[in-house]
């Protein structure tokens, strides 16, 4: 590489990282507790233990869960059921209207938590409890979009892209900066700046693959709202086109929820259904139940399959095929979160996150210390 090319990569490395460093530091810091989100949430907001029932106890009838929910809140909209595949609970979500449901921080959205086996109400959370800003939720809102929802998410996606650029340009200047030294040499005895330069290079090049993958999958997550929007405006719209002249069913006209669940389960026998979206939802269809299922084997469990069931007749309408960009998003999610390989993986994730912080801060220091030096590479 000529000196001119090296200078060009160095310029790119310096400025792409300087612009994104503060935001990346925020992401690394808020990301730390998010690695252990389940543990921290369980510890800060413990649920009373579940009733002890045999492991093969069948699931309660969904119609009775819907019935109890509608009786308690007859004037509200039942938006969706969450059927947990981790704990024996079913959560019925409510809102005063579909319009209210679409508000990011609506104060009318609440839920009832049921025991999945007995349909016993475990918790009837009012809007205040449901919207409670727990520690993990604050960290998540900050991490995902600086408390600004979509604009914040897109901004952080841009910062992620700059981070990616900083990593790639870093690869190109790694070699010239290492001069003729062996891998891992740290010149401890010459100057503080040289010691930190060597540490920055060593930490950066060793963790590079991880930083690149977590960075890219982070960008994927940040653009998930527009990606789902594209899918709804194209594929979903085309799929619902044949039904558009059929009148929208009223809640009284809706077919049995349990029957819709059974129909969907028969259509995807190898999948686990984890949620049921009621007709009328802007995230679903005006005339269909939308059921989300995922596979049971490790790779397939990352892939979700939506099933549409006619809201009035209970007939199967479609098993939806997800487009490639949403498949890519589904695969990216765990790779960003690091929560898919047990506690040891989470601990490794934490160490790599801390090392990234060292790379960021040492980079900032190197830029600062270099400003005082005569101009040389």
């Amino acid at each position: 590489m000529t000196t001119k090319t090296i200078k060009r990569w160095l310029f790119l490395h310096r400025w792409s990282s300087l612009i994104c460093t503060l935001f990346l530091l925020m992401l690394c810091l808020t990301g730390l507790p998010l690695i252990f989100a389940d543990e921290i949430d369980g510890w800060l907001n413990p649920h009373p233990p579940y009733e002890n029932l045999p492991a093969n106890t069948p699931m309660a009838n969904l119609d009775s869960i819907v019935h109890i929910t509608r009786n308690r809140y007859p004037h509200e909209v039942l938006t969706f059921l969450f059927i947990d595949d981790d704990e024996p609970q079913i959560i019925a979500n409510l809102s005063s209207s579909w319009k209210e449901f679409m508000q990011p921080h609506s104060d009318s959205t609440h839920y009832i938590r049921f025991d999945a086996r007995t349909a016993k109400v475990l918790e009837d959370a009012d809007a205040k409890t449901a919207g409670k800003r727990t520690f993990i939720r604050i960290m998540l809102d900050l991490h995902r979009g600086l408390f600004m929802d979509l604009p914040g998410e897109l901004f952080l996606a841009l910062m992620g892209a700059l981070f990616g650029l900083a990593l790639v340009s870093g690869i190109f200047i790694y070699s010239p900066f290492m001069k003729k030294m062996d891998f891992g040499t740290i010149r401890k005895d010459r100057s503080r700046r040289l010691k930190w330069l060597d540490l920055h290079n060593l930490l950066g090049i060793v963790t590079l693959a991880w930083m690149l993958i977590v960075g890219l999958t982070g960008i994927m997550n940040e653009v998930s709202t527009p990606l789902f929007g594209i899918w709804q405006a194209t594929d979903v719209k085309a799929m619902l086109e044949p039904y558009k002249n059929i009148p929208v069913p009223t809640p009284e006209e809706l077919h049995s929820v349990q029957a819709a669940f059974d129909t969907a389960q028969r259509a995807v026998p190898d999948m686990t259904i984890t949620s049921l979206v009621f007709p009328g939802s802007p995230f679903g269809s005006p005339r269909h139940y939308l059921l989300w299922s995922h596979g049971n084997s490790t790779l397939r469990s990352r892939l979700f399959n939506p099933v549409l069931v006619d809201g009035r007749t209970g007939a199967l309408s479609a098993v939806v095929k997800m487009p490639w960009y949403l498949r890519a998003l589904e695969i990216s999610r765990p790779l960003h979160f690091g929560d898919y390989g047990g506690m040891p993986l989470k601990i490794i994730w934490t160490i790599l996150d801390l090392l990234t912080i060292v790379v960021l801060i040492s980079g900032l220091y190197l830029w600062w210390a270099r400003r005082k030096l005569p101009d040389h590479v």
């Binding site: 060793v206 790779l299 490794i348």
Partner: protein, 59 residues
């Protein structure tokens, strides 16, 4: 390929293997993933520890 690049490339491959092994497999694959992902950390620890112990000797 120069010596300087061989180690980073090997570690990058181990990281990619570790991330995918935990994602696509269970049981033994999780253990392999932890081992693969620990390797870069151990390499870093040894390089940095050796550098600091050497300089302590120096002073």
């Amino acid at each position: 390929m120069s010596e300087r690049w061989r180690m980073p490339l090997l570690l990058a491959l181990l990281i990619v293997f570790g991330l995918l092994a935990a994602l696509l497999g269970t049981g033994i694959w999780h253990v392999l993933s932890w081992l693969a992902l620990s390797t870069p950390l151990i390499v870093l620890y040894r390089k940095i520890w050796r550098a600091s112990s050497k300089s302590r000797h120096h002073f």
